[in-house]
């Protein structure tokens, strides 16, 4: 545990002193700001069935799709290339501790980035206090639900991207693989469920519909949470972390 904490602190330190981290943070914030501006304009111009927070957070897939691969593509690939991983592996420390330290450091940074987006959400209410009174602009369950979903799904997306980073020392390749995998995950839900829903039975609907990520996002933003989804994301995260450990072991065999 002590060695894990040392390694975790080292990973955090590495992220904080790396210029690319701030570059990624800037891109991430820029994407969020664009979504924010478009959502706000839409919200003001047209009548909306949703609150502003809901409308803003349902677009969270865009920064996830673009930001997560950028954030995690270096985790293992860079260490393979610079041979720092070899240096770490010369010490008696478990492979899972190495994987977990890298994962948690990246996940913490991901959470911090999303945390900073709260400023964007609260900014209009601070500038125009009457918005808060309108009720449809910010609702607590929209915010809590939406951010909980982002934090929860981040477990899976980060672990998935870290797995691809553990496969190769080429950062571009690992980032591209992660992008494709996340894109496929987002895309698979609507395609799969639309096919089943058009021809399936009631049982198919009940089973497949919750797997649609956009359906999950909408539900989460409305404050509705399916515990099966929580279990699914945690299980998939553990699966990808285990696969990363296997990949790391294979790299040194």
């Amino acid at each position: 545990m002590k060695k894990f904490c040392v390694l975790f602190k080292y990973e955090i330190h590495k992220l904080l002193v790396s210029p690319s981290t701030y570059f990624i943070a800037a891109i991430f914030t820029a994407i969020l700001a664009l979504i924010y501006v478009f959502t706000l304009r839409e919200f003001i111009v047209n009548d909306q069935d949703f609150s502003f927070a809901h409308a803003f957070l349902r677009h969270c897939w865009i920064p996830i799709l673009l930001g997560v691969p950028l954030l995690s593509m270096r985790t293992f690939s860079e260490d393979y290339k610079t041979e720092m991983m070899q240096s770490v592996k010369t010490i008696a420390i478990g492979d899972f501790s190495i994987v977990l330290a890298k994962f948690l450091a990246t996940y913490l940074f991901y959470t911090a980035l999303w945390g900073s987006s709260l400023l964007l959400v609260f900014f209009p209410t601070m500038s125009v206090p009457t918005l808060m009174q309108s009720g449809s602009f910010l609702t607590t369950f929209n915010l809590v639900g939406g951010y909980f979903y982002i934090i929860l799904s981040g477990l899976m997306f980060i672990s998935m991207s870290i797995f691809f980073s553990s496969l190769t020392e080429n950062q571009i390749l690992s980032g591209s693989l992660a992008f494709i995998a996340i894109f496929a995950t987002f895309l698979s839900g609507p395609i799969f469920s639309s096919k089943i829903l058009s021809s399936g039975t009631f049982m198919d609907h009940a089973f497949v519909r919750p797997l649609n990520i956009f359906h999950q996002m909408d539900n989460a933003c409305l404050g509705v949470f399916d515990t099966r989804i929580v279990v699914l994301y945690i299980t998939l995260s553990l699966l990808f972390l285990s696969l990363t450990k296997v990949s790391l072991e294979k790299k040194f065999s």
Binding site: K3, V6, M84, Q86, T90, A92, G94, S253
Partner: protein, 315 residues
């Protein structure tokens, strides 16, 4: 003599390529051991397996009596390994990095341990606050060696510790390594044979995945080279060529070389023969009398021993 490492029937394959082929040897405790062999001989694979970085396909490695495959965590607590390229994180300062490594190795007082090795490697005053990215190659190597020395491990493995260094830096690192003699076992791999000859007192020669020989330089020399090569030193122009030829002929010796020693103004003649050495010495004394300045067996360099042991290089 206690052995710090015992290797039995070790094999390593990469696909169809056999990197290590059923090798067995022991490494004595407290020695500075040179691991030498041509490129592709299996040195790096061997070092990676000994350090626990890579598993073997078969065979076993005992480090201080602990089976590396069965109890890797405990065995690796006894080993330090500085890899060939000595990767270091550019974003850290030297002292900070060594404290980080000490903490990873489970050392309690990381500050004290880091200071100890920095003093040992002569980087305490010059480099401890420097960013690693600003260090010269020599200082980087010293930081790498310092890292390997953290925690007083029983076996310290150094892969090419003096590669890319200037002569002054080599002397400095040599001095650091020599100071460790007796206190722990060092396994050093290098292509600079003259360097290893200076600091090592035990050698492991490997070629094509097999151990060619192990032992001290004298032992290896005895077993691997022609021990019948001798020399005589004579003053120049005092002994005629005829007398020299007669001496060689009488003792059935073959002349293999002669040089005039500029600084002493003498003649150094090398010859080879199967005769009794003491009789050859007696005969030389009879033939050359007081002109005989010296006679003895030619000593060999590690380079000659290496070439002799790995004969494919002779071609």
């Amino acid at each position: 003599m206690t052995d710090v490492v015992k290797v039995e029937g070790l094999s390593k394959k990469y696909g169809k390529f056999i990197a290590l082929d059923d090798i067995s040897f022991t490494l004595p405790k407290g020695k500075i051991i040179g691991l030498i062999g041509p490129n592709g001989a299996g040195k790096t694979s061997l070092m990676k397996i000994l350090s626990g970085l890579m598993p073997a396909n078969s065979g076993q490695v005992l480090v201080c009596g602990i089976n590396l495959a069965e109890n890797p965590a405990l065995a690796r607590e006894k080993i330090s390994f500085m890899t060939e390229n000595n990767p270091l994180p550019d974003h850290m300062r030297v002292g900070e990095y060594l404290r980080f490594r000490a903490a990873l190795k489970g050392i309690d007082d990381t500050r004290l341990e880091a200071e100890k090795v920095m003093r040992k490697c002569d980087i305490y005053y010059d480099a401890r606050y420097k960013m690693i990215k600003n260090l010269s190659k020599g200082y980087r190597q010293r930081v790498g060696i310092g890292d390997a020395l953290l925690g007083d491990r029983e076996l310290v493995i150094l892969d090419e510790p003096t590669i890319g260094l200037d002569p002054k830096q080599i002397i400095s690192i040599r001095q650091t390594l020599l100071e460790l003699h007796g206190s722990r076992t060092l396994l050093i791999s290098s292509h600079i044979l003259s360097e290893l000859e200076t600091i090592c007192d035990y050698f492991v020669i490997i070629d094509s995945g097999k151990i060619v020989t192990t032992g001290s330089l004298a032992d290896i020399y005895k077993s691997k080279t022609d021990t019948n090569t001798m020399y005589i030193d004579l003053p120049a122009n005092c002994v005629s060529d005829e007398i020299i030829a007669e001496f060689l002929s009488a003792n059935q010796l073959i002349r293999i070389g002669a040089t005039t020693e500029q600084n002493r103004g003498g003649l150094h003649i090398e010859f080879r023969g199967d005769g009794n050495r003491s009789e050859i010495v007696k005969s030389a004394a009879d033939y050359f009398g007081e002109n005989l300045l010296g006679i003895g067996r030619e000593s060999s360099s590690l380079e000659e021993v290496f070439l002799s042991a790995t004969k494919r290089y002779m071609d």
